[in-house]
Symmetry: C2
Subunit: 209 residues, 2 copies
């Protein structure tokens, strides 16, 4: 049975995902960036790591079929499918109070770092530090000279990206509350986090391999 968690706009939620289960992140209204974290259930000091994943896949972001590696270089997730335009980011740190302070906003502004700590805490997981997230639907492009150009998210209502869990893990998703820099488009809106068994289909055209 699939279980669906609504992540309200600007907030974070965590779900436990078992090895072999599938979860997907759906952009309900479109244009919303989500910061995704995954921690090994057996030991939260092992987590999805951007820099270890890049070495393994030789890409800036994993594509369908690619694994996401932990800081111990073990697969924790893999990308199953992606119905969005395929623009995601794995270069930028999660927003945090220091980021909002530097932008001249209230340091008490909601942030993905605080959302992570709160959502993980509700599952008795004390986050040792804030790993670099997979920034779902965030459109950051590297130019040939190494310059990074950020565009507002181009994901459409209902677009989703699905992952297969390669180990038992705690998955945390934050609907990024960033409203000072224009990374989301059309306001801060909810995301949906849906966990199901592998092979458990949905609507036609969205069956998982």
């Amino acid at each position: 049975m699939a279980e669906t968690t609504l992540v309200p706009g600007g907030e974070g939620r965590a779900v436990r995902v078992g090895e072999g289960q599938v979860f997907r992140v759906t952009d309900v209204d479109g244009g919303q960036v989500g910061d995704l974290f995954a921690f090994a259930a057996a030991d939260p000091a092992e987590y999805a790591s951007a820099e270890h994943t890049r070495v393994a896949i030789r890409k800036l972001f994993p594509r369908p079929g690619d694994p996401v590696l932990t800081n111990r270089r073990r697969p924790i997730l893999s990308v199953l499918e992606d119905t969005s335009p395929g623009r995601h980011d794995m270069l930028y740190a999660a927003c945090d109070p220091a980021r909002y302070a530097l932008l001249g906003a209230d340091p008490a502004h909601r942030s993905c770092a605080a959302n992570l700590r709160q959502a993980a805490g509700e599952h008795e997981l004390d986050v040792p530090f804030v790993p670099q997230p997979l920034n779902i639907f965030m459109d950051v492009r590297a130019q040939e000279d190494g310059t990074l150009v950020s565009h507002p998210a181009s994901s459409r209502p209902g677009d989703h990206i699905a992952f297969l869990a390669a180990m038992d893990c705690l998955v945390v998703l934050s609907s990024c509350p960033m409203d000072v820099v224009n990374i989301s488009s059309g306001g801060i809106t909810p995301l949906e986090l849906r966990v199901s068994e592998a092979g458990e289909g949905d609507e036609p055209g969205q069956h998982l391999p």
Copy 2:
């Protein structure tokens, strides 16, 4: 007075650098990658962070004039000058026993992660975890589609990159022992780490601003 530390090929060394001091990394024989880490002297849980730096500079790697930020988004270093072809990397994790095991090499192979722990330990710094390093002289290029292409280091004998310290820090440099994947060229060779006061010149044409 400048102080020079030779980092033997494949090994690591750490030096304390005071706020306002300058250090430079010289590729003695050319073609050698160096993994560079910096920890705040006041609290090693604050360290040079690739993902926070990228957000601030909007580049894959800092160029002369750009800061390097910590995980608390405070400047810890800035790049002063770079006499090399300017190819460096800030995307790839430091090599470690797990990396060598995956490559079919001896997991006891020297690694930048082990070099970091050993060199920092000699300065009574217990590294809380291995941050993503600044991979000096490592030539990884991001293509427009997000694919990463690695080339052997193109730095020439005597090429250097210099940094200004924005706070008291422990700087660790590892001459990367990776000899399974071809990231260095011409064998594993020494690097030189030289700490001096800002404005303390060297040869003509190499005066620091």
